[in-house]
Point group: C2
Chain length 199, copies 2
C-alpha cells in the first residue's frame, strides 16, 4: 500500500512546506480565512507549484489526515484491542496528542469543517454498526439518532480537548470518553422500549 518509488526530494520538500504553512495559518487565522496566496507566500513556493500538487486547500489539509484513519482502523487484529463501540479510544486520543498541532488545525475550533465531518462520519458508522447489531428493540431510526448523538459527543470531546491544549492526559481523556459513551447508553432501554413507557 505504501508508495513504490521514493519521491523526488523536491516534491517531499514542497509538500511539507505547504502543509506546515497551512497548519500555522489555520492556527493563526482559522481555516476559512486562509487563502491559497497566504499559504504559498509563507511557504515561499510558486503559485503554479501549489496547483501542481493539490487541487485546493482542502486537499492539502486532507493530505495530512493519515494519522486519523490509522487511529480508528489501524491494528484491528491486535490482541490488546480495547474497543468501545468499535473504537479504540486509547489509540485515538494518543495519536491526537502525538499530532497535536496538526490535529488541532484539522479539528479545533478554527479547523476545516470537511475533516470534522469526515471524522464524525467514521465514528458514526462504527457506533451505529455496533448499536444496530445489539439485541433488544428494533427501532433502527431511533438507534441512528442515538449513534449520531454519541458520535457528536465523542468528536466534540476530542475537539475541545485539542482546543484546550490537552488539559488531561491522553489516558485520562480516553477514560473520560469511555465513561461518557457507555453512560449515555445505560438509560436508553427504558426510553426506547415502547411498551414499558406508557406516556
Amino acid at each position: 500500500m505504501t508508495s513504490s518509488k521514493p519521491l523526488d526530494r523536491r516534491i517531499q520538500r514542497t509538500r511539507k512546506l505547504l502543509l506546515d504553512s497551512l497548519i500555522e495559518l489555520v492556527l493563526e487565522k482559522g481555516y476559512e480565512a486562509v487563502a491559497v496566496q497566504d499559504i504559498i507566500d509563507r511557504a515561499n513556493v510558486g503559485r503554479s507549484t501549489f496547483y501542481a500538487h493539490f487541487e485546493n486547500k482542502e486537499q492539502l489539509l486532507f493530505s495530512g489526515h493519515g494519522w486519523l484513519t490509522e487511529s480508528l482502523f489501524g491494528n484491528r487484529n491486535e490482541p490488546s484491542a480495547d474497543l468501545t463501540l468499535g473504537i479504540n479510544l486509547g489509540i485515538l486520543f494518543q495519536h491526537a496528542a502525538d499530532n497535536h498541532r496538526l490535529a488541532k488545525a484539522m479539528l479545533g475550533k478554527k479547523g476545516g469543517e470537511l475533516i470534522i465531518n469526515h471524522l464524525h462520519e467514521l465514528v458514526y458508522t462504527s457506533i451505529n454498526q455496533t448499536l444496530q447489531a445489539n439485541q433488544s428493540n428494533q427501532d433502527t431510526s431511533a438507534k441512528r439518532l442515538v449513534s449520531q448523538a454519541i458520535a457528536s459527543m465523542l468528536v466534540g470531546l476530542l475537539r475541545s480537548w485539542l482546543e484546550a491544549d490537552l488539559p488531561l492526559s491522553p489516558g485520562k481523556a480516553s477514560t473520560l470518553a469511555r465513561a461518557l459513551l457507555l453512560g449515555s447508553l445505560a438509560e436508553l432501554p427504558t426510553v426506547l422500549a415502547p411498551p414499558s413507557v406508557p406516556y
Copy 2:
C-alpha cells in the same frame, strides 16, 4: 423589546423574500455554496437592496434565529419549567419542529457553521454553569470538557433529528435527549474523582 414602529411594507416584503430564498437555496445546495447573487436572483431583488438590509449572507440567516434563543431562554419563570441542565428540552424540540425548514437550513448538514456554533455556545454555557455549580470534586477543566461533550451530543442529536426530517415526535425526541444527557453524567463521579481511581 419588539420594534416600536410597524415597518414599511416594502421592507417586510423584501426581507421575507430574501430569507425564504436563502432557506430554499441552503436546503438545495448547502450554505457555503450559496452566493449572494443566487439569493437576489431567486428573490428577484436588486443587489443594492440586499446590502441595504444585510451586511452579508450570515446576517440574513441570523435574522431568522429568534425562535432559537426563545427556545432556550424564553419563559424562564414559568411554573412548568422542566429544565435539564438548565435547558428546556421539550420547548427546544417543539420549536425546532414548528420551524422545521428554517431550523434545518440553519442547523442541518448543509447549514451554516456560524449558527451551529452559536447554538453550541448557548447550550454549553448553560450546561457548564449547572455542572460547575454542582458539589463533588473541583476539577473545573474536566468539567468544562464534559460540558462541551454533552453540548455536542445535544446539538448533534437535534441536528440529525432535523436532517432526518423528524423521525421521532418532538416529545419522544426530547425524552431521548434527556435520557442521553443524564445517562452520560451518571458514571462520571467514578472517573472524575482522582483518589478512587488508582490507575
